[in-house]
């Protein structure tokens, strides 16, 4: 069991999932993790790029059989 916050962006068109994730991450403390669900295929390229630029750690990113992506991101900074 992990303590990640969750963000369901299924049905939202790009770049809204990344905008929503950024808003959510701003509210979280350094080291916190957030899980994001998205059915926008662009998330597969945009999420790693967004994490790289911000210095966040992309812990996982997987696609299921229905084409839905689930990613987990740890916010940059000390995990406490």
């Amino acid at each position: 069991m992990n303590g990640s916050a969750s963000l369901d962006t299924r049905g939202l068109l790009c770049p809204v999932p990344i905008i929503k994730l950024a808003e959510r991450m701003r509210a979280e403390p350094p080291g916190a993790t957030v899980r994001i669900l998205s059915d926008d295929p662009g998330i597969a390229v945009d999420l790693p790029a967004w994490c790289e630029g911000h210095g966040h750690a992309l812990l996982s990113l997987e696609e299921d059989a229905e084409g839905c992506y689930e990613g987990e991101v740890r916010k940059a900074g000390p995990s406490g």
Partner: protein
């Protein structure tokens, strides 16, 4: 000595990537800012879900941030104020539906507000003097600076040495002698800089990524506005629909939108509310929408257009189901319309 912080307007095109690299080289802290206008071709390609090549659907601003290790915030500006500027621009349109001077003034004003809230010292862009006909000549650059309230605080690193010194240069926050003197439409200067910085993954040329510069879109845009009442308040969905399908205007003024393939048909489903929907029975055919209200006499014509673009177009008579908001509770028996007639109505 404190670190200088700059807010960069990043499209992720080569020019804004190079402008960022030039400032990083001088030790400037960068915060990237990318505005989502709702008229980005890449975003639309993604929404259509036809593309499988990641390079065709990636967000170039985020790609730029990843390559240069700078954070990029995407800000959604597709609101009523922005749409109002698009429909009634103070400085007019370019060759299509592109009110570039007004659009950039709006963006730069938002960038100034963002800079102030983030504690930035100045704003920069990848603009190149004389590169684009409408927004990057000296006169327009000055109008945009004045309208945005960024006078003196807007640096164009690629052309800086051809422009008046800005506050960041005068104050020594950046070294003007290390900035560029690129102008015009040739990409030679940019290519040389890209080689120096080892940037090989060039994105599409900037300027080709906005629907508002597309001539076909512009024709639909102008037609749409012509048929709106004087008190019309722009809604983004109205303009989103202009990107999709074949568009027709019947002699009575009725508008018809015909999906061109499975991706567009699927996309049009989200617009069922507020529209009459037509679908040919017994044959493969497009999703056809016509905004409410629909004149009774026009229903047969719209059904005939639906027939023309179905696989039953050679039939003498077709059944076309139709109804409001996707409830196809009516039936029309029509002959598919001749292509020559349909084409005269196409926008």
């Amino acid at each position: 000595m404190r670190t200088v912080k700059a807010v960069g307007l990043l499209s992720g095109g080569l020019d804004s990537t190079l402008a960022t690299a030039l400032l990083l080289e001088q030790g400037v802290e960068i915060q990237g800012l990318n505005f989502s206008t709702g008229f980005c071709l890449t975003d639309h390609r993604r929404a259509m879900r036809r593309e499988t090549d990641p390079r065709r659907i990636r967000n170039e601003a985020l790609r730029c941030g990843a390559d240069l290790r700078v954070p990029v915030d995407i800000v959604d500006i597709c609101n009523s104020e922005y749409l109002g500027i698009l429909t009634k621009p103070k400085y007019g349109y370019g060759s299509a539906a592109n009110p570039c001077v007004d659009c950039r003034s709006f963006m730069f004003r938002r960038a100034r507000e963002y800079m102030e809230s983030e504690g930035g010292d100045f704003v920069y862009t990848g603009e190149v003097l004389g590169q684009r006909p409408m927004s990057q000549h000296m006169k327009q650059l000055r109008i945009i600076e004045r309208e945005s309230g960024l006078a003196g605080l807007l640096l164009r690193p690629l052309s800086a040495r051809l422009l008046d010194p800005t506050i960041p240069e005068v104050e020594g926050w950046v070294d003007r002698t290390l900035l560029g003197r690129i102008s015009g439409r040739s990409r030679k200067g940019q290519i040389e800089l890209a080689e120096r910085f080892g940037l090989g993954d060039f994105p599409q040329p900037a300027g080709g990524c906005c629907y508002l510069t597309d001539k076909s879109f512009a024709a639909r845009f102008r037609d749409f506005l012509k048929f709106q009442p004087g008190e019309y308040v722009p809604r983004y969905d109205d303009f989103l629909l202009l990107k999709v399908g074949r568009h027709f205007r019947l002699p009575t003024g009725t508008k018809v939108i015909v999906g061109r393939d499975a991706a567009e048909n699927r996309f049009l489903i989200r617009f069922y509310d507020g529209h009459w929907v037509f679908q040919v029975r017994g044959f493969e055919g497009p999703t056809v929408l016509s905004p409410e209200p629909l004149e009774e006499d026009d229903a047969g014509l719209v059904a005939g257009i639906a027939g023309r673009y179905s696989s039953g177009r050679a039939e003498a008579l077709l059944e076309v189901a139709f109804g409001r908001a996707g409830h196809l509770d009516r039936l029309a028996r029509v002959s598919p319309l001749a292509e020559a007639m349909v084409k005269t109505w196409q926008i």
